[in-house]
């Protein structure tokens, strides 16, 4: 950053900044809801219970159900898709009965896990019995299906063009999709307009922090001001004193 440039910037000192911050009223209830949203979506049941008791913020879902949802997510993340499917069906059979795309992704994941474990014979049978017929009933899944079944062709899948399917990120993706579907089936009505349901698959907090970082970057071009450099401490760092 050149000197001449920085001279053109407005300088906002610590006191002025604090005053301006005070002008912005953020309701405490809203802050609490963001925190609760994070705890619930990420599955911190015990923390959510304590927070509910202490802050009086409604969790928005039945906390008992969170345990189920978290267990199911963990099952997919650890590669036990069959277990996850059984648990979802116990929770609410309508989810997989209705959401064919989601169900397909779970079966796809199951095939991937069989291949990962080197159970090629089982994988082949599974593909023939459960995956192949889906293409006929759901033409929209056909392309993805072909790609998945092609996994069986490669000797070393990890160095094939389909390596991405074998990646842990694929497990995460499947787990998130299932998590979102369960949340949607349980979620509570939102009083806020335009918000689809009380809970999304992702907590709102990380996004708010991203917004904060983005806003600071935008502001850096126009002014110097007390910045938050460390998101964990949220400490305001005073700008260096002006040259003149």
């Amino acid at each position: 950053m050149g000197r001449g440039e920085s001279n053109n910037k407005k300088r906002i000192g610590g006191e002025e900044w604090q005053r301006k911050l005070k002008d912005v009223r953020v309701r405490k209830e809203d802050m609490n809801r963001v925190v609760m949203n994070f705890l619930v979506t990420e599955g911190y049941v015990d923390a959510a219970r304590v927070f509910e008791r202490e802050s009086g913020t409604a969790p928005g879902v039945d906390l008992d159900q969170i345990t189920d949802r978290m267990d199911i997510r963990k099952a997919v993340q650890s590669g036990d898709v069959e277990q996850a499917i059984e648990r979802v069906n116990d929770l609410d059979p309508e989810i997989l009965e209705e959401q064919q795309g989601l169900f397909f992704h779970l079966q796809q994941q199951r095939l991937i896990e069989l291949i990962r474990q080197g159970q090629l014979q089982e994988a082949l049978e599974f593909a023939q019995e459960y995956l192949a017929p889906r293409g006929e009933d759901h033409p929209e899944l056909l392309e993805e299906l072909e790609r998945t079944v092609a996994l069986l062709v490669f000797e070393d899948v990890r160095s094939s063009p389909l390596a991405d399917l074998m990646d842990v990120a694929q497990r995460q993706k499947t787990a998130s999709e299932l998590n979102a579907a369960i949340l949607a089936s349980q979620s509570q009505a939102s009083r806020e307009r335009g918000e689809a349901g009380g809970l999304e698959a992702e907590p709102k907090l990380p996004n708010l922090l991203k917004l904060l970082v983005w806003a600071q970057k935008q502001l850096d071009e126009k002014a110097t001001y007390p910045r938050i450099e460390n998101l964990v401490t949220a400490e305001l760092v005073e700008p260096p004193p002006a040259d003149d």
Binding site: D92, P93, E97, Y130, S187
Partner: protein
């Protein structure tokens, strides 16, 4: 391998060991959920019957009942499966479990399974739920706090509300209060299920609507839901529900007026039209809301509904039902107001509406046709834009549609488009429109006949001799005679209008019509006139046939004088309708007017008319309440006296 496992699971259902049975039930359930092929495979192995057996068994424990009910629900979620479930009498057992069990998990599973059954369009829902006590049980479950039991019960009740009888039964079972209470549930799924049920319950039913309105909070709950509903779907269902109630407000409900409620619903529906993920028939609901109210139509147009509906037509892949709804709604909004038609044309969707006339779905074709009919009422559009799109050929095809309603809309539109100044008239003639109208004029269906003759009469107006000739060729005189005697007064009137337009304005036209009728025209028209008391429109057209002939050559005038018409004309001078009186005076003026040196014949005609007392009648008309009758009567009298005076002079000489 898989086949072996299936076999094992099914055999497991026979096992005497209850743990094995439970495991098998659970295994089968997990195989069939979401999987059509697996369902069919297990059906073939006879699994459904065995699962029903578990539900029916008094020995089955709660865990088994839960798995059996879930498996049954999954089988019933597809049509083949449902049929097998019905065949093996699975439903009565499911209902018994639902009604008798006190285990919340069992009740949950049974309610979910029943919802799966009733959601199938193939399910005999009404028959199933009419079983004794079922409705009461479902209503009692609306209070349940177990997971989604209340939503399932509400969903089942919604499926049941298919007609007034079922709606009445649901209300009588006490469903209204708990459903309204569910509207304030913090859980979105419960709110939505309750809204769906209330919408189904109030659909076209004044009694159940009144029952709902007994609950003071229902309207405010719905007003909140149309604004703050979490999803577009929620807002839509709430809007439909509120619209239902607004149509059947009981007199004692003074808190909200029909207008207030409908004005509240309208902007919500219009806004929903613009939702990207629009899945419901919002256009259809909007159409229903505004169809009987010009103010609401105006309000909808002011809120940009026409532009949004046009966008639905313009941006392809939309579900067919939506396109149909949009066309219907546009038809309603454009039925009366020229500025609305203008908006539709400005939105550049005329080609899409025209293309929809040839859609593969009959109901979409019908909707497009209604829309075209609304547009064809605009003389401006007829003169201009409608001529730019291909409409005559598809409309003519629709005129032969097996659906009488569609055919009628098409023919009505065509008749509008046949008028003289229409830019579509050329297209119509090029596609054998005359022959098609003539064929329709022969139809057994009175409305089709009417529009066929109407179309022909429009085509004939100011037409070239060639077009008139083709009309005479396509419609034999014998058919004209039949049409003039049609049982429907409107058909008779349009047939007479056709004759009037056919001989309008030129001697050669008159001669052509005389030839067409083998010189029986005057007799035929006279017979009709004598039989048509009180039909002023028809009489007027008939009179102008004679007025036209009386303005023609001496020979044509002579034909009028020799046909029994003079006495009839004098009689019409005292008709109750001023248009008929005026036409009669015109005929007298024409008959007493001398041209081409026919003074002698004119004198003879005047003489004949005077003997019939025409002077006294005309003198009376000089005091007529209608100004133009009065003025014409004076003219006629002057002309009559001039001829008589000239005649007297001649005699004196």
């Amino acid at each position: 391998m898989a086949a072996v496992r299936r076999q094992q699971l099914v055999e497991g259902l026979h096992s005497s060991d209850s743990a094995t049975r439970l495991q098998s039930l659970r295994g089968i359930k997990n195989c069939v959920i979401g999987n059509k092929r697996q369902k069919l495979q297990y059906i073939q192995l006879g699994a459904v019957q065995l699962v029903v057996g578990v539900l029916a068994s008094p020995a089955a424990d709660a865990a088994q009942l839960v798995q059996a009910a879930a498996a049954l629900g999954s089988f019933a979620a597809n049509d083949e499966g449902l049929q097998v479930v019905l065949q093996h009498g699975g439903i009565p057992h499911l209902l018994r479990v639902l009604q008798n069990s006190e285990d919340s998990k069992v009740v949950e599973a049974a309610a979910r399974a029943l919802k799966a059954v009733c959601r199938s369009p193939a399910a005999p829902t009404c028959e199933i739920l009419t079983a004794s006590g079922v409705l009461l049980r479902l209503v009692s479950l609306l209070d349940s706090s177990t997971s989604n039991v209340a939503d399932c019960a509400a969903a089942v009740l919604a499926c049941y509300c298919q007609g007034p009888e079922e709606q009445g039964a649901v209300a009588a079972a006490g469903a209204v209060a708990p459903l309204v209470a569910l509207l304030s549930s913090p859980q979105r799924a419960k709110q939505e299920a309750a809204l769906e049920a209330l919408a189904a319950l109030s659909r076209g039913n004044a009694d159940t609507s009144a029952a709902m309105l007994q609950d003071g909070s229902v309207v405010s709950s719905l007003l909140r839901a149309i604004k703050q509903g979490g999803t577009p779907h929620t807002r839509f269902v709430a809007a439909v529900c509120l619209a239902n109630l607004s149509r059947n407000l009981p007199v004692w409900h003074t808190e909200h007026s029909q207008q207030d409620l409908q004005q509240a619903v309208l902007p919500v529906l219009v806004r929903l039209l613009g939702e990207a993920e629009l899945a419901e028939d919002v256009p259809g609901a909007l159409c229903q809301l505004v169809e009987h109210s010009v103010e609401l139509q105006q309000a909808a147009a002011d809120a940009d509904a026409i532009v949004k509906l046009a966008a639905i037509l313009r941006e392809p892949p939309r579900p067919a039902r939506l396109v149909e709804g949009a066309l219907r709604c546009l038809a309603t909004l454009c039925a009366n107001r020229e500025e609305h038609r203008r908006q539709l044309v400005d939105a550049k969707v005329l080609p899409q509406v025209a293309a929809a006339l040839s859609d593969t779905r009959p109901s979409t074709r019908a909707a497009a046709c209604m829309c075209m009919r609304s547009l064809s009422r605009s003389t401006k559009l007829l003169r201009g834009h409608l001529g730019d799109v291909e409409v005559a050929a598809p409309l003519l095809a629709l005129a032969a549609d097996p659906d009488a309603e569609v055919a009628l809309q098409a023919v009505g539109t065509l008749a509008n488009m046949a008028v003289d100044f229409s830019a579509v008239k050329e297209q119509l003639l090029a596609h054998d429109g005359v022959a098609r109208f003539a064929a329709l004029a022969d139809s057994m269906q009175p409305q089709l006949r009417l529009h066929g003759v109407w179309g022909l009469s429009s085509v004939a107006y100011m037409a070239t001799p060639e077009v008139k000739q083709s009309i005479a060729q396509q419609l034999p005189w014998s058919s004209v005679v039949v049409l003039l005697e049609d049982p429907e007064p409107e058909v008779r009137e349009k047939a007479m209008l056709l004759l009037r337009n056919m001989l309008y304005n030129a001697e050669h036209n008159i001669q052509a019509v005389l030839n067409w009728s083998c010189n029986t025209l005057l007799e035929a028209v006279r017979d009709v006139l004598e039989r048509s008391r009180g039909q002023a429109g028809l009489k007027q057209h008939a009179m102008y046939v004679v007025v036209n002939m009386a303005s023609s050559t001496a020979a044509h005038k002579a034909a009028v004088m020799q046909s029994g018409w003079p006495a009839l004309l004098v009689e019409q001078l005292s008709d109750g309708d001023e248009r008929v009186r005026e036409a009669a005076v015109w005929a007298i003026i024409n008959l007493t007017w001398s041209r081409d040196g026919d003074a002698e014949e004119t004198a003879a005609r005047v003489q004949q008319l005077r003997l019939l007392g025409v002077e006294e009648q005309l003198k009376r008309l000089e005091h007529d309440e209608c100004v133009s009758v009065k003025e014409r009567a004076t003219t006629a009298l002057e002309q009559l006296r001039a001829v008589a005076a000239a005649d007297d002079e001649m005699e004196a000489v």
